[in-house]
């Protein structure tokens, strides 16, 4: 189908954009990268009265590091994260690994991280990344600005804490320390498909022992999941050499099992029943943790950036 008719506005400033969203008697949609919204317009699942195109708002494409965080403007594209240089240390490496799993290059040229958070698809890598890293989401509305933590932002599939008259202006991603190793593992049906399950992990290690673990799961529930129970099981565990062979009793395998059984809340899908999804989660958590260990080992081998 073709999109239904709508009015179109391309504001030049954040203020104009927020003013355009203020009239809640009209159903307005914000257009950033548009790589999900255009699809919804084609299907006519979304039939807005007004499309507010923020692509001509100056300054929203900014990406800068200050106060211990990467500040991602609402128009920073997925492609901007392909290079690990996007942020110093492990954060840049983790974002880069994830970015290469998002759709394919032409989509990454337009789609945005902030748009992905606003869209809140359960399979979105960036949404899981936001909860994994305790990101802050900056919102601007008619009465001022506020920051919502990622753990309070996602309420369900395509449901977020953003009010209809608010615009996401930026996302703050806290930097990760140099003693943190990162990993990312995703299972998908074809290269450019949505994630069946994606797992990201950040392990902070002191003297060979895990002092902090962060594990995020995409498409393992209706909202992005932070695998807190699995993380707790790892604190104090030996950051052991990556496993080879059957992963029984290994702390990483145990964490995978806990993430799959306790943290995840998968729903049956046509090609993946719940038991299958739990199995995938357990395996991918183990792999992501292995990668994080490898990442740390590479760093301690003198390859520190």
């Amino acid at each position: 189908m073709k999109p239904a008719a709508f009015d179109y506005l391309a504001p030049a400033t954040v203020r104009e954009a927020v003013d355009a969203l203020a009239d809640t008697s009209r159903h307005a949609q914000v257009l950033a990268g548009g790589q999900s919204l255009m699809l919804e317009l084609h299907y006519r699942r979304s039939r807005p009265d007004l499309v507010v195109d923020i692509n001509r708002v100056r300054g929203l494409d900014r990406l800068d590091v200050r106060d211990g965080a990467l500040h991602v403007g609402a128009l920073a594209r997925h492609r901007d994260f392909e290079s690990p240089e996007v942020a110093p240390g492990p954060l840049g490496r983790l974002l880069s690994l994830a970015a290469h799993h998002i759709a394919h290059p032409p989509i990454r040229a337009l789609g945005t991280m902030a748009g992905s958070l606003a869209w809140a698809h359960p399979a979105a890598e960036w949404c899981a990344m936001a909860v994994t890293l305790d990101a802050g989401i900056e919102l601007r509305g008619p009465t001022g600005a506020r920051v919502v933590g990622a753990r309070d932002f996602f309420h369900g599939p395509h449901l977020t804490a953003r009010r209809r008259q608010e615009l996401i202006t930026a996302v703050r991603l806290p930097l990760l320390g140099d003693t943190t190793g990162i990993g990312f593992a995703e299972h998908r049906r074809t290269q450019a498909s949505f994630a069946v399950i994606a797992v990201m992990a950040a392990l902070t290690v002191f003297d060979g022992v895990v002092t902090e673990a962060r594990i995020g799961l995409a498409n393992a529930a209706g909202t992005p999941v932070r695998a807190y129970a699995a993380e707790r099981s790892l604190v104090g565990a030996e950051a052991a050499r990556p496993l080879s062979g059957p992963p029984e009793h290994h702390p990483f395998a145990r964490a995978g099992g806990i993430a799959a059984e306790c943290d995840a809340d998968p729903r049956a899908r046509p090609y993946a029943d719940v038991a299958y999804q739990r199995q995938v989660i357990a395996v991918l958590v183990g792999r992501a943790l292995n990668q994080a260990c490898e990442d740390l080992r590479r760093l301690s081998g003198g390859d520190r950036r």
């Binding site: 073709k2 999109p3 239904a4 008719a5 709508f6 009015d7 179109y8 391309a10 257009l31 548009g34 790589q35 255009m38 699809l39 317009l41 084609h42 499309v51 195109d53 692509n55 290469h100 759709a103 394919h104 290059p105 032409p106 989509i107 040229a109 337009l110 074809t190 290269q191 450019a192």
Partner: protein
């Protein structure tokens, strides 16, 4: 809504409904039917065009978003004298098309990548990642990969060597499962 659009170097002034996507406007208002529409969901890539030099899906972009911007379609690849673009010659030489429906999209995808960074054709992993963007149901992708490598070699005026099987052997991935 009135917009100004430059397509293949030619200026167009168009009065458009905001809901119309760039692909439809190129085909119906500019008369450039080389840009094909397959899925209209951003999956197949047949509608790929360059907007300000960047390969994007013209089905996932409103035409009004392109006001003041420059679009290049498959019709803009050949030279002014009608001489085919090196990519077009290479696609023909390597049999990188059969039915041809996906070809305009693959050509523009490759043109955008080669113009922004020609080294991509010599990097098997990045070229493989690029080719996941579009769908081809005839060729199995391998001839398309060879054609893009061949076009780069012709651009730098080094004729590709031919192997016994007749395909370009100058650059080969380390193992056959890399594509």
């Amino acid at each position: 809504m009135n917009i100004a659009l430059t397509v293949n170097g030619r200026a167009h002034r168009l009065d458009l409904e905001p809901r119309r996507v760039l692909a439809d406007v190129l085909r119906e208002d500019c008369g450039l039917t080389g840009t094909h529409l397959g899925c209209e969901h951003g999956v197949c890539g047949a509608c790929t065009v360059l907007v300000d030099g960047e390969a994007v899906r013209s089905c996932l972009l409103l035409a009004v978003q392109c006001d003041g911007r420059s679009v290049r379609t498959v019709e803009g690849l050949a030279g002014p004298d009608g001489e085919p673009h090196p990519l077009q010659r290479a696609f023909s030489a390597e049999h990188a098309l059969q039915c041809g429906f996906c070809t305009p999209g693959f050509l523009m995808l490759a043109a955008g990548a080669l113009e922004s960074d020609p080294t991509i054709a010599a990097d098997p992993e990045r070229l493989r990642e690029l080719l996941t963007s579009n769908l081809c149901r005839c060729t199995g992708y391998e001839p398309i990969r060879r054609a893009i490598q061949r076009a780069l070699l012709q651009d730098t005026r080094k004729p590709p060597e031919r192997s016994q099987t007749g395909s370009t052997a100058a650059i080969r991935p380390a193992s056959p499962d890399q594509l």
